[in-house]
């Protein structure tokens, strides 16, 4: 060890390493420490902005990939269900074809009418520019930032702050917000929420949510039909050319498939929330607005009466509040607000989760 790099402490004379901020012996502040700290701080800030730039693109790609996997898994469950049920009656191919036809019919129906159905179910009314100019301006700002066409704007009369987006593609999309959201949030927070909804529209989450709901509906319908119809047919004694092993498999699947598809739908929904949060940061370049909006919406005690189990997955924060803590982890449609705020913190927000 050479002595030439060591710096003597001005107070006690102890020789410290050149990187020391305070003297190792007497804790006196070393000369030049402030300068070194400033350089370090500068370096850290530069690194932070670099992470901020890269991370929303990285999060987006990861989320899109996962959603594809989950949607394919649901189609696979549907096919497996159809084939095994067909097998139980002696014709696996017909079973698979029937399952696909049912799924296509339900998806086709929701393609054209799900959006207006959801709006009327939620008690949302379409508004024009003159009704709420500030809200309209914020939506327009986010429309510009995202480069998307202007969505229809709907308002729900309720003191509970919340919002959702729906539609089948950016050209046929709508954003709904509650009156409580406009009243209780600051402009920056409102901007963050609208940006999150525009993120759902840009990422085609609105279409995914619709298709996932349609697939889940088809799986539930087919399972139900089999369990009821299967029992009837057995009573009639016409099990024909069916395969007994296939019958057992079909019964097990008919019970398990709707549950696993439901869990998958919840997973789709949770993934998509993180993705939309990342997109909101991409549009606003301000992770704080959304982070503090999420904290505020979650902390608000007012219930949203018009939300129910069928529409809960659409909202920015789950409006159905009477969930037990254990059920939350697996069944909830949304990640915990804390996890979302932490993800936003990784993108540069300095709000601390409540």
């Amino acid at each position: 060890m050479t002595a030439k790099n060591l710096i003597p402490c001005p107070n006690c004379g102890y020789e410290n390493s050149p990187r020391a901020v305070v003297c190792n012996l007497c804790k006196e502040i070393m000369p030049g420490a402030a300068q070194r700290l400033r350089v370090k701080e500068e370096k850290r800030r530069k690194e932070k902005t670099r992470v901020e730039r890269s991370s929303f693109y990285a999060e987006k790609d990861k989320n899109i990939r996962n959603s594809y996997i989950i949607l394919f898994a649901m189609i696979a469950i549907l096919l497996l269900l159809g084939v095994s049920m067909g097998g139980a009656y002696g014709d696996p191919v017909a079973g698979g074809v029937i399952a696909l036809i049912v799924a296509c019919a339900i998806s086709g129906y929701s393609w054209f009418s799900a959006s207006s159905l959801i709006m009327s179910m939620s008690g949302a009314k379409k508004i024009e520019r003159g009704d709420m100019p500030e809200l309209f301006n914020v939506v327009e700002e986010m429309k510009i930032a995202s480069g998307l066409p202007m969505p229809d704007v709907y308002v729900i009369e309720s003191p509970a702050p919340n919002a959702f987006a729906t539609g089948r593609d950016p050209d046929n999309s709508a954003v709904a917000v509650t009156t409580g959201l406009v009243e209780k949030l600051s402009r920056d927070e409102l901007q963050g929420v609208i940006a999150h909804e525009m993120g759902h529209i840009r990422n085609f989450d609105i279409r995914y949510a619709m298709l996932a709901a349609a697939l889940l509906g088809s799986i539930a319908l087919i399972s139900d039909a089999f369990l009821r119809g299967g029992l009837l047919r057995r009573r009639g004694g016409s099990r024909g050319g069916g395969n007994p092993a296939m019958l057992v498999l079909a019964v097990v699947l008919a019970i398990a498939a709707p549950i696993s598809a439901y869990l998958l739908q919840m997973a789709v929904s949770r993934r998509r929330e993180f993705l939309a949060d990342a997109s909101a940061v991409e549009f606003t370049r301000n992770p704080n607005g959304l982070a503090s909006a999420l904290a505020k919406i979650t902390a608000d005690p007012a219930p949203l009466e018009s939300a129910n189990r069928a529409t809960q997955h659409l909202y920015i924060v789950n409006p159905v509040k009477n969930f037990s803590m254990k059920a939350r982890a697996l069944m909830s449609t949304h990640p915990a607000t804390e996890a979302r705020i932490n993800a936003l913190r990784r993108m540069g927000a300095d709000i601390i989760a409540p």
């Binding site: 301006n137 327009e140 700002e141 510009i144 930032a145």
Partner: protein
Amino acid sequence: MDGWIILIILAALILFVIGIYNSLVRLRVQVRNAWSQIDVQLKRRHDLIPNLVEVVKDYMGYEQETLQKVIQARSSAMNATNIGDKAQKEGMLTGALKSLFALSENYPDLKANQNVAKLQEELTSTENKISFSRQFYNDSVMAFNIKCQTFPANMIANMFNFTREEFFKVAEEERAPVKVDLR
């Protein structure tokens, strides 16, 4: 047989080139649209300012200097010709408006006026729209420039004379953080 294989490879190659060419065109159209979006918002700001000044001057008689600055900045921004000049002049207008809004905080009567509140909301939103449209423009330019320069699109870009687009740079004084004196 060999002829068929060559034909298939040739067809695949042509489809590949067409695909890249179309995506380059799409990105360039997006850049152009984003640019016109900035123009729309800048024009909207120029239209709003005379109304604001008209309403505000009754209340802020003592702030003639600030009002004059806003009016001057507006007219010089409207007369700007090239892109660099425009960016700088519009930046000065943003600064003048900011100081006007900061001063208006001192006039409670003014803040209570419904018309002023409406105009201020419109102008604040227009300011936001300007910066968001600039952000979207720059993002579009970045996407286009990256596509133009990366393999294999760069070969097609060179073949059909796709040149890199300019970023919309913000005037220096606008980018500097606002200094607040708390003493």
